[in-house]
Symmetry: C2
Subunit: 251 residues, 2 copies
C-alpha cells in the first residue's frame, strides 16, 4: 500500500448545528412536526440530542432565518420556538438567488418561464374569477399611463401582470414557482429595458400592450389553449424586442 | 385623537443581521457580487455597514447555512468568505420543506407535478441522449427486481426514474424544480404504498412497470406529445392505484 500524500483530502465535517437542523427538517418531512407545534426548550433539546446548548441555539437561528421556525417571546405557555409555515416569499427568495448564482444559461431560464407560464395561463383561463380578472386589469391600466415615463415602473407593472395571471390559476404551489421565476427575471429584464435607446423604446410598450390585452381576453373567454399559445408567443416576442441580439460580455 | 390601547401592536423589528443578509442578497441579485467573489473581512464589512461585528458574523453564518457563501480557511490570499453557487440541493430542500409546511392541498401538488412532468417528458423526448436513456433503464431494471420485496426501495427507484426523465430534458433549472416536487412527494407516496395490503400491492408494480416502459419508449422515439400524455396518465393512474379513496384524517 502506498502512502502518497497527494491522495489525501480533508474530510468534510458537518458542524453540530447542521446536524440539529437536519434532524428537525427530517421530522417536518416525516410529518411528526407540524406547523404550530412547539419545539422542546433549548436545554431539553440539547440533552435529548446530546449536543451543546450553543449548537441548539445556532440551529434555531438558522431555521428562523429561513422562516421554518418562529421564536416565541416571554416565558408563559406562549414561550418557546414554534414550527411555522414557510412564507411563499422564502421560496421566491431562494429561487431568485438560485437563478442569480447558479449561472443557468439565460435561454434555460426563458424556456422554464415559457413552460410555467403556458401552464399558469391555461389554469387562469380555466379558473379565473371576476376578482382575479380585475387584478389583471389593474397593472394593465397602470402600464398604459406609465409606459412613456418610467421603464423601472413599467417593469414592475409587467411583473405584477404576470404574477396576477399565476394567482388567477388557483394552484398556490404552481403560482409560487411561476412568480419566483418571473421575479428572478425582473432585474435582467430591467437591464434590457434600460439598454434600449429612446427610439427603440418608443415602440415597445405599444406592442407589449397589444399582446397583454390579447392574453387577458383569452383568459376572460376561458380559452385555455389560446391563452397558453399567446403567452408563449408574448414571452418570446418580448425577449426579441428587448434584446434584439445578445449583449456583448459586460466590460 | 383617542389613545385606545387595543390599537397598538409591537412594531416588527428586523434584526441587524437580517439587514446585513439583505444587503448581500441585493448585491447578488444586482450582479455586483458573483460566484467566486470574496467578501470584505468581518471588521471591514462591519465598518462599512456601521453594524457590530457580531451582526456580520451572524449574517455570514445564516448565508453559509443556506449555501450562498462559503467560509474560507487560513489567513493567506485564500482566506475570507466567498460567494458560492447555490447547490441544486439547497433549492430542492427548501421546496420540500415548503410543500411539507405550507399545507397545500394534495391535489394542488399533484397537479403541479403533472404540469411539470408533462413538460419535462416532452423535453426529454426532444433531447435525450443515449446516455440519458441508459440512465432511465437503470432504475427500470432495478424496479423489476425490487418490486416484490421492498416498497421503500421501489419508491426510491421510482423517484430515480422520474428524476432521470427530468435530467434527460437538459434544462437544469426546470429539472431542479421537477426534482424538488417529486422529492417532496417521496414520503407521501411511501405512506400510500405502506398503507396498501399485500393483495392490493401484488398488482401495483406490474401496472406501473407497463406505464414506465411506455413512457420510456415514447421518449426514446422522440414523441414529445405522446411522452407528455403518457406521463400525465401515469401520475394520475398511480395516484388512483395507491390511494383509491382519500385516506381518513390521521388519528
Amino acid at each position: 500500500m502506498s502512502e502518497a500524500s497527494e491522495g489525501w483530502r480533508p474530510v468534510p465535517r458537518a458542524r453540530t448545528y447542521e446536524l440539529v437542523v437536519e434532524q428537525i427538517e427530517e421530522q417536518i418531512l416525516a410529518g411528526t412536526l407540524r406547523v404550530g407545534d412547539r419545539l422542546p426548550g433549548e436545554r431539553e433539546l440539547a440533552a435529548r440530542l446530546q449536543v451543546s446548548r450553543a449548537a441548539v441555539r445556532e440551529a434555531m437561528r438558522t431555521l428562523e432565518a429561513q422562516g421554518v421556525v418562529r421564536a416565541g417571546v416571554g416565558s408563559g405557555p406562549e414561550a418557546g420556538t414554534v414550527v411555522s409555515a414557510l412564507p411563499s416569499e422564502a421560496l421566491t427568495r431562494l429561487l431568485r438567488l438560485h437563478v442569480a448564482l447558479a449561472n443557468f444559461p439565460v435561454s434555460d431560464v426563458v424556456e422554464a418561464r415559457v413552460l410555467l407560464e403556458r401552464a399558469t395561463a391555461a389554469l387562469a383561463a380555466a379558473h379565473a374569477t371576476p376578482e382575479a380578472l380585475a387584478a389583471l386589469d389593474e397593472p394593465l391600466a397602470a402600464m398604459a399611463t406609465a409606459a412613456a415615463a418610467d421603464r423601472h415602473l413599467y417593469n414592475d407593472l409587467d411583473t405584477a401582470f404576470h404574477i396576477a395571471i399565476a394567482e388567477a390559476g388557483g394552484n398556490r404551489l404552481f403560482a409560487d414557482m411561476t412568480i419566483a421565476i418571473r421575479e428572478a427575471m425582473r432585474l435582467p429584464i430591467l437591464r434590457d429595458l434600460e439598454r434600449l435607446d429612446d427610439r427603440a423604446w418608443a415602440d415597445v410598450p405599444r406592442e407589449l400592450t397589444a399582446q397583454h390585452r390579447a392574453i387577458r381576453a383569452a383568459i376572460a373567454a376561458g380559452q385555455e389553449q389560446e391563452a397558453a399559445r399567446l403567452i408563449d408567443e408574448h414571452i418570446r416576442a418580448a425577449r426579441r424586442l428587448l434584446s434584439p441580439k445578445e449583449p456583448p460580455e459586460e466590460a
